[in-house]
Symmetry: C2
Subunit: 570 residues, 2 copies
């Protein structure tokens, strides 16, 4: 490709709100432009990177037995109703009606579509395991788009769906896909951390994110020193320190107090440690149920964990009015002790205690009345939660659940994820079955596996760059060689540069040839550095029968004949 013809050229300025490095560089280099917020054009250079990423994914998926297909982008809403996802998804669905008033969802993920496809055939155990995948445009009506390609509303995703005869067989597939993902990203120059995470609106019981460590990432996760345990903050577990768990239970005591409504007010007043205080958080779920989450004072409630425990999909904090009029308690003084006896009869109240409460005795906190506190509360004796479970948000320094040491909090960009779906879809959709060896239909066990291509490209640009521009890893670079012609106003030099261009192409190498006349060497080098192609090769009146070669990732310049250079490329 001759750079003189490439659309578009680089530019020096970026719009003011362009804060992320990857966004700035991809913008300036002429890789991307925004249509409207969160919807991007992929310009020719970006499209080439995207195609390389796609080719790597396809190669690895095919080697692992995946079969590529494609499903329509418009999903009949009837399918999403079959699994209740029209009401439960965490992103706003975009819906559209056709001229016949048939309603569709703009696909954001395609579990229902693929199950609906498979049930058009009578598949048997012989057809399993089956892994079907596609590359297609997905839509998410995100509240806020951000950071160029890091969070967009329309993007190409590779989504794969696996079908197995049993959980046992599925686990092999899940492990295999985990390995495939790690390898894919390695080939793109990305080191990923496999992070346990929440399954969100997908369904199923467990899943993992593939995260590239980066300060600008939206994924906050906890990881131990050697990386053997890594989990998203939504799901991270830990071993809580046993505080005064061995203490003798003292007499429950109600005391009059004058204090504010915060935890700190309680600590100051009673002069007791924060961890000995009970933190009471009252939520309301989408069905109007009240949930009292109680936890040791030095921890926060993890709403994601809580949602799963109570099998709800949305929580909000109860209002002060609700606390007073429905629960008949008092903001800042809520207590699990006796609370079920005072609530309105038509209120459903569920008490969920975090496991950390088992590590303390003689806790203190409110008494469901203004300016009254309780001392020496003990779980089991003074209050009986409906559920005791892990609903805590892990924090820096907590001990990893495998006992391997303290956890550190890190940030990263989620480039891929893999989900166990189990029977979530096959139990909700009719005829989502295979014929087993005994001739009987049985639901299949599912998993799914996603990668956003644009976000992957942006992540590479975000972590692989210097002050001059992007440094594309060879596996995904838009071209392998950036041939810079200098002094091209001299016919002989121009002829030599053209000759080298043709010879390199004849070797099957991808070359971007800066053939512009009247542009300074400095400008051409700046463009080459910005665009970030692995090898810069200069032909000028000084280079003679050699080529001046510099790797984008290195400082050294070398002079080689064409033959020597080809050998270096291997």
């Amino acid at each position: 490709m001759k750079y003189s013809k490439l659309f578009p050229k680089t530019i020096k300025q970026v719009p003011q709100d362009t804060t992320l490095k990857s966004h700035q560089l991809l913008y300036r280099g002429g890789f991307i432009r925004e249509s409207v917020a969160g919807r991007y054009y992929f310009l020719p250079l970006a499209l080439r990177v995207n195609q390389k990423i796609q080719a790597i994914i396809k190669d690895e998926m095919d080697k692992a037995g995946g079969q590529e297909l494609s499903a329509p982008i418009l999903h009949p809403i009837a399918l999403w109703k079959e699994t209740n996802r029209t009401t439960s998804v965490g992103f706003e669905l975009m819906k559209v009606k056709d001229r016949n008033e048939m309603e569709f969802v703009l696909g954001g993920t395609a579990e229902e579509m693929i199950v609906d496809l498979i049930r058009k055939f009578q598949i048997s155990y012989k057809d399993l395991p089956l892994n079907l995948y596609q590359f297609s445009t997905k839509f998410r009506d995100e509240l806020r788009a951000r950071g160029g390609l890091l969070r967009t509303r329309e993007f190409t995703m590779k989504d794969a769906y696996s079908f197995d005869v049993s959980e046992e067989e599925f686990k092999k597939e899940y492990r295999k896909m985990g390995d495939v993902y790690t390898r894919m990203f390695e080939r793109m120059g990305l080191k990923t951390i496999v992070v346990e995470s929440d399954n969100g609106y997908i369904g199923g019981e467990y899943c993992h994110e593939f995260v590239v460590e980066s300060e600008v990432g939206e994924s906050k996760f906890l990881v131990n020193k050697d990386g053997t345990y890594a989990a998203h903050e939504d799901v991270a577990r830990f071993i809580p320190e046993k505080k005064n768990a061995g203490e003798v239970e003292k007499l429950l005591q109600e005391v009059e107090v004058v204090r504010g409504a915060t935890m700190e007010d309680g600590v100051k007043l009673h002069n007791l440690p924060l961890w000995q205080q009970i933190k009471d958080v009252l939520f309301v779920d989408e069905n109007g149920r009240f949930i009292l989450a109680i936890i040791r004072g030095d921890y926060d409630v993890n709403e994601t964990k809580l949602l799963h425990i109570i099998k709800a999909y949305q929580l909000r904090h109860a209002t002060e009015e609700e606390i007073r009029e429905k629960i008949h308690s008092e903001p800042g003084f809520i207590s699990p002790v006796g609370i079920k006896d005072i609530v309105d009869k038509n209120v459903e109240l569920i008490i969920v205690a975090d496991e950390t409460l088992a590590t303390i005795k003689n806790a203190y906190g409110g008494a469901n009345k203004k300016d009254m506190d309780l001392l020496n509360m003990n779980m089991g004796r003074d209050f009986k939660p409906d559920i005791v479970a892990d609903i805590a948000l892990a924090k820096e320094g907590d001990i990893a659940p495998d006992g391997s040491g303290p956890l550190a909090v890190k940030r990263g960009i989620e480039v891929g994820n893999i989900f166990q779906l189990g029977f979530h879809y096959s139990s909700r959709m009719v005829n989502a079955t295979f014929i087993d060896k005994d001739g009987k239909p049985k639901p299949y066990y599912m998993g799914c596996y996603g990668i956003g291509l644009g976000r992957t490209m942006a992540t590479i640009a975000e972590i692989s760059n210097d002050e001059k521009g992007i440094i594309w890893p060879e596996g995904v670079a838009p071209y392998k060689i950036h041939l810079v012609g200098l002094d091209l106003e001299e016919e002989s030099v121009k002829g030599e540069a053209e000759r080298v261009y043709k010879l390199l192409q004849a070797e099957g190498l991808e070359v971007l040839f800066d053939d512009r006349i009247g542009i300074s060497a400095g400008e051409k080098f700046a463009d080459a550095d910005l665009i970030g192609i692995p090898y810069r090769v200069v032909v000028s009146k000084k280079t003679g029968d050699k080529l001046e070669v510099k790797k984008r990732s290195e400082k050294e310049i070398g002079f080689y004949t064409l033959e020597e250079f080809l050998k270096i490329l291997g």
Copy 2:
């Protein structure tokens, strides 16, 4: 790929409404399945064919200087309003709103999007010619989907847009793209006829369809014997026979008649030829204007031509009530003579006469009153049309406009089209300009070029098949070799088949290996014929150290060693 693992397998039955050969074969062979009407899954075999088609298109577009990019699928409706296409397009737009109430069109064609991209940059004459293309999912809310992939509501299209400094430069690009298209289709095994056609909702002045002759096609076109003139019936021109054009004009005469309202009734009553009668057709356009189209009795009005002449985009026939109450004429007795004097004052009436009326004298027809006819009407003397133009529908046997002989009516499938757009978009959209040599901004001259990938695949299947199945041309076949293993229950045969499978793959050949055990030779051969891969290679207990080779397109079977077979493949 092992056929035992391929999803899905072939089946014998097709749904009842599956009438087209291509639909039946693609369905039975396991290439496609419908989600809902007009929206299809491309299963693994079809996806491979699609990717081959895409690769051929990309290769030819790149060689011709095209640059691939991708635009969002959701187009901000503001852009479509800029060109008035929200009201003028011939297909129903699908619209969708996001959570912020921003309105989008689901892209069916992307002229506005590409112009909106280009105007984000300051391009100059040095950047032109520019040809940008993409492969992306397009949406058309068709009233009726039909025939499998031949007319769908959602499909992958390659759409290209060219930008030139002048009409003269554009014409070179247009011719080049025409050649590119012909070559692309040849590589896919399709012989295309380049047919002048109507530009529909795209805008611009001329365009051509690439049509593959087929009885099931929706494109009806007229073509002369040697193919030097071919045009869609919407736009086909011809040289009308000069009937009695030399006759002396006789006196206009009004006569009382008792006849029905049809043309035939007039012929019978007056005992004069059909061609001497004036056919009067009254239309109403989208703005409520009345259009009286008049034409020689042996021709029909071509509504597409008429629309262009009067610059409207929709026509309907006037009702009998309108003819009586607005025009004050009489159904079956309309006449151009004196009609402007009798219409309602608030009615705008435009008389458009077809050029064929210049080939006759002393015409007869209605008199704008019930049971009254006029004889010896002569254009110019008795009535003066507002417009005289070609608004006739050409028919079988008419003489081609270049005088090259009679035209034949044929049917075909439109697989691609190329459009002159001229300044249609660059004049309607602001800043749709390039900086010319004189430093001033000027609008660029545009063209666009489309190919539907799924329809192309279906067309190949429609014309390249026999009673047993599809016969894929080598350039687009899902695999090159269909290796059929027989007698695989014998370990030694199975080993040999596996060995051949691996050796062929090691040669870089794409092989589908029917490795199923317990399936008869007859069934395996039937599947191979149905799927239609170019080479069938059999390994069985009888083949020994040879391979049994049969081309799908031929009857002969040959026996070769692996080395000999590889030589045949070349």
